[in-house]
């Protein structure tokens, strides 16, 4: 394994910049060494709009993380999000040479190349291409076709892509700190690494990460990513709604939301809440909940609609996992259950050691997930190398015989 197995995850969120330094142990458990975070500024809807301000926040968070973990951070895994990020599923097909019989690693590479080759808009670039499963001669859901016999090899890929320049802006901002970006990861892909365990992925689960500026989701069925995306609506919108409707400043609206608000219209107590700092101004609980309920209902419906159309909601055996800062909101679980008609649970990250109590907090799912993602990426590399080596060896033996 690589000399260093300390990874750093960085999430520049709409509400906070968060850096998590984690060490991956030999047994695969992640130990969190330190966390640095700072309230974010200069980020709107998940995207950097004011690079300089973000860098200040980032620098601050970095100092804290380094100090606590006693690690000098040079490279990070960066989580990206934003409404420009989209995903599609695409299938690549090749015909395996007749006398070759066995599917070899070259075929896999080739089918991947073909599957990836979807017509993206000119300004878009790939973020991820995640294998879903293979088909060999139409046989369903083959997970590893290497060495199988067959004539036709197909591969389904889930491809996540986004506008290059907007992603580059985020990277550029981080590089100027200066930190090197080792890889970029679409936020829900990272969050799923810690929130969803293997069982959940296999049985089908939908992860919804409701953050400050965006709501990201990713849907697993049969262990494969089948849908992912981002809606540029988050907790900030709820606060903004309250502020606009009640005509109060944003800071007070935020406070109202956190301390008194609920997304559910059930069991609303008939009470008036005094708005702090605004002498004499009162708002009824029903009004407050109404505002929040309308927003969250709409938001979840926007997420649910495409999934419903693809018939994915019926395949979610493990139900829905809510994470992200806004999932702490009262009543949101009930509401989501009503909208999706599937059991909903709130999730943080699990199976960590270290100052873990903190990280059960769903706000940290994404940055911790980045570390898990980095770990997986590293695990895959030598494995893949060994396999392809083996493949080459076979090829040599057979090739020589001809």
């Amino acid at each position: 394994m690589a000399s260093s197995n300390i990874y750093v995850g960085l999430e520049i969120g709409t509400s906070k910049v968060c850096i998590v330094v984690g060490e991956v142990r030999n047994d695969g458990a992640i130990k969190i060494l330190g966390v640095g975070q700072h309230p974010s500024a200069g980020v709107r809807k998940g995207e950097v709009v004011d690079s300089e301000t973000v860098q200040t926040c980032l620098h601050d968070a970095l100092m804290r993380a380094e100090e606590r973990s006693d690690v000098e951070v040079n490279t990070v895994f960066l989580a990206v999000t934003g409404s420009h990020i989209q995903s599609i599923n695409n299938r690549g097909t090749i015909r395996v040479a007749d006398e070759q019989m066995e599917i070899n690693s070259e075929d896999l590479e080739e089918v991947k190349k073909i599957a990836r080759d979807v017509p993206l808009p000119k300004e878009n670039g790939y973020i991820h291409s995640i294998i879903q499963h293979y088909f060999v001669d139409g046989q369903d859901k083959v997970l590893n076709p290497l060495g199988m016999l067959g004539q036709k090899l197909e591969a389904d890929y889930h491809i996540v892509h986004g506008v290059k320049t907007r992603i580059q802006n985020a990277i550029k901002c981080v590089r100027e700190v200066p930190l090197e970006v080792e890889d970029i990861v679409f936020s829900p892909v990272a969050a799923a690494q810690v929130v969803l365990n293997r069982e959940a992925k296999n049985e089908g689960a939908l992860l919804i990460d409701i953050g400050g500026g965006t709501t990201d989701y990713i849907c697993f069925v049969d262990g494969a990513v089948v849908a992912s995306g981002c809606v540029a609506v988050g907790g900030d919108h709820i606060t903004n709604d309250i502020a606009l409707v009640l005509k109060i400043p944003l800071a007070r609206a935020e406070k109202l939301k956190v301390t008194h608000g609920s997304a559910s219209m059930k069991n609303v107590i008939d009470a008036e809440i005094a708005v702090e700092g605004e002498a004499g101004k009162k708002v009824s609980q029903e009004m407050l909940n109404g505002i929040m309920n309308a927003r969250v209902t709409e938001l979840l419906s926007v997420v649910a609609e495409p999934l419903k159309q693809q018939g994915l909601l019926d395949k979610l055996g493990k139900g829905i996992f809510l994470t992200g800062g806004s999932s702490l909101m009262n009543g949101i679980g009930d509401l989501a259950e009503d909208i999706f008609g599937i059991p909903v649970q709130k999730a943080g990250s699990s199976s960590m050691s270290g100052p873990s109590a903190l990280f059960e907090n769903p706000q940290y799912a994404t940055p911790v997930g980045l570390i898990r993602y980095a770990q997986l990426l590293d695990e895959q590399k030598p494995k893949k190398g060994a396999l392809s080596k083996l493949g080459q060896k076979f090829e040599k033996i057979f090739g020589g015989g001809k």
């Binding site: 709009v49 097909t93 015909r95 080759d117 502020a243 309308a294 709409e298």
Partner: protein, 584 residues
């Protein structure tokens, strides 16, 4: 480089029977020819056509024809296709003489400029009239050359597509992918020329190389399946141990094949494998296996192989195919202009919509096009009639005749394009635009003159009231030299095609300059009769009102998200509080 070996006597088709000529039109075409000559082309005659006499004199090809000797006096066209066309018409007899008797002609041309886009369609027409098998290799301009050149190129490509048996279009932007961006400009362009010259050569070789398994023009044709298709072309040559694999890889990497991915959709794929005497059956087999990987199981594979001493120890693979349906680039161009427009294929033979759509961005605000609109539903004879009178404004013939071919569909599309303009533009367009824009639009002004009249008659609203506009137009401007209209009247169809292609605006431009009277002077005199001042005031008022709406509303409704990119889902602006939206 594959070369056809003359010494190989056994099944060599007689050259006189398969006379091949390669014609380069314009600067880019000439460059390709030079490249071919450089690489030693002994199997085809080369002919360069150009307007620019200096460029022509540096060309190394054996035959040269200067276009537009009297019209342009040895200078270039300055990027004006209509001049290119005129120039070609002037030399039409020479061209006819030069192509006569050949069985197969390759035309290579760089579209977008004046000579290429203007003259090449003429050359193709002549060749087609002579009944020659015609393959056109065209390059489309880089996107940085601007929309206008792209439009001109697409226009020309459409016209060429109707005459040619096969059109192979190279997108310069995609050529760029093959070339390291840091390469010198000379290298970059040389690389592009090289790809084209390779393609021509490979196509020739495919058709004429003696083979163990022979491929003929018939196979070529079925691979190209000439109706409404886009050509795929790949060529690779390699030496060494792994040559079969490398040659295939190279062929698939060719910009038109898109790494072999497009082959999946092809109906028929022609593959020729050629090599020196060392080529083994196993290698051929390897090549075919690699290719079949990229080809759907339904696809017909036309396979040919042959040996060629000149290849010595290298091996070449040529893949030619075509896919039906819309070409991504062409579609983009069209969509950018008018999303409702049906998709258009690149190598098309039968898609005359783009010329109109392509013209749209330039003239969208111009009422001239609108005045053409009424003719869309014209039956054949009034056109022919109008046509007989050579005095009719060119712009009108253009729209009118063209539209007679494709019936109602286009009249729909056309009205979709121009309907919004009906509302308010005519009133101020002649004044403002004619005044400040350069005289490119003068011709449109002439068309514009018709408009108030048509309007006054209520003709504007009815597409089926076509005949009035051309008549007054006839008096307006007849002096422009439409030589071709007179000389070529017999060939109605082909001629109108030419007319519809040429960008007639420019020609008028020159007229307007030499004789400033009719152009800018006329339009203002007419609209006053319509109380234009009132109209102008009205439109500007409206504009002001719209601006206010735009600025005020979102600020009020969106709070902190006022200045961000709006988040629109299903037409709802999600930045506005749901609570407020749902309450309404």
């Amino acid at each position: 480089m594959i070369e056809y070996n003359e010494g190989e006597a056994n099944e060599v088709p007689d050259r006189s029977e398969f006379g091949v000529k390669v014609i380069g039109v314009g600067g880019a075409g000439a460059n390709v020819l030079d490249r071919m000559a450089l690489e030693g082309s002994d199997d085809a005659e080369l002919l360069t056509l150009n307007t620019d006499v200096r460029a022509l004199s540096t060309s190394v090809s054996s035959d040269k024809i200067q276009l537009g000797t009297t019209l342009l006096k040895g200078m270039g066209t300055g990027g004006d296709p209509s001049l290119g066309k005129q120039a070609a018409l002037e030399a039409v007899d020479d061209i006819r003489e030069a192509v006569r008797g050949y069985k197969m002609i390759f035309v290579c041309v760089g579209l977008g400029g004046g000579t290429g886009s203007g003259a090449a369609p003429e050359v193709c027409r002549v060749a087609r009239e002579e009944g020659i098998f015609l393959v056109v290799f065209a390059t489309l301009p880089f996107s940085f050359e601007g929309q206008r050149r792209m439009d001109q190129a697409m226009d020309a490509l459409n016209t060429i597509g109707r005459y040619a048996n096969a059109v192979i279009a190279f997108d310069n932007d995609r050529m760029g992918e093959l070339i390291v961006p840091k390469d010198g400009v000379t290298q970059a362009f040389a690389a592009a020329d090289k790809i084209i010259s390779q393609s021509i050569r490979a196509t020739m070789n495919v058709a004429f190389r003696p083979g163990i398994i022979r491929i003929g023009i018939d196979d070529l044709l079925s691979a190209l399946d000439a109706t409404d298709s886009r050509c795929l072309f790949g060529y690779g040559v390699a030496k060494g141990d792994n040559r079969s694999h490398e040659a295939v890889e190279q062929a698939l990497k060719c910009p038109l094949l898109d790494r072999g991915k497009l082959l999946n959709d092809a109906n028929a794929v022609l593959v020729q494998v050629a090599g020196g005497e060392t080529m083994t059956l196993y290698e051929v087999q390897m090549v075919m296996e690699e290719v079949t990987k990229h080809v759907g199981s339904e696809t017909q594979i036309l396979f040919g192989t042959g040996t060629d001493k000149r290849l010595s120890n290298s091996l070449s693979v040529t893949i030619i195919s075509s896919i039906v349906g819309p070409n991504a680039e062409a579609q983009q161009v069209v969509e950018a202009v008018e999303p409702e427009e049906p998709p258009v294929s690149l190598g098309m033979l039968a898609a005359p919509i783009p010329p109109l759509a392509a013209a749209a961005p330039e003239y969208q605000e111009e009422v001239a096009e609108e005045s053409v609109l009424p003719e869309f539903a014209l039956p054949e004879e009034p056109v022919a009639e109008a046509y007989g009178e050579t005095v009719v404004t060119e712009g009108i013939i253009e729209g009118a005749v063209e539209e007679t071919y494709e019936a109602e569909v286009d009249s729909d599309a056309g009205s979709a394009v121009f309907e919004p303009i009906d509302e308010e533009q005519p009133a101020y367009a002649p004044q403002e635009i004619a005044g400040e824009e350069d005289s490119i639009f003068d011709e449109d002004d002439d068309g514009d003159v018709l408009n108030p009249i048509a309007r006054a008659m209520g003709g504007d609203d009815e597409l089926t009231m076509p005949i009035q506009p051309p008549v007054p137009a006839a008096d307006e401007e007849g002096e422009v030299g439409h030589v071709e209209a007179v000389t070529e009247t017999s060939q109605k169809i082909t001629l109108t095609r030419m007319l519809s292609k040429g960008n007639t605006g420019r020609i008028k431009t020159r007229d307007a300059k030499t004789d400033p009277g009719p152009g800018p002077a006329l339009p203002p005199t007419k609209p006053p009769g319509l109380a234009d001042e009132l109209d102008i005031e009205e439109t500007s008022d409206e504009a002001r009102r719209q601006q206010e709406m735009l600025q005020l509303e979102p600020v009020a409704g969106k709070g902190r998200f006022a200045k961000t990119d709006p988040t629109i889902v299903d037409g709802e602006d999600l930045d506005v509080p749901t609570f407020l939206r749902k309450k309404d």
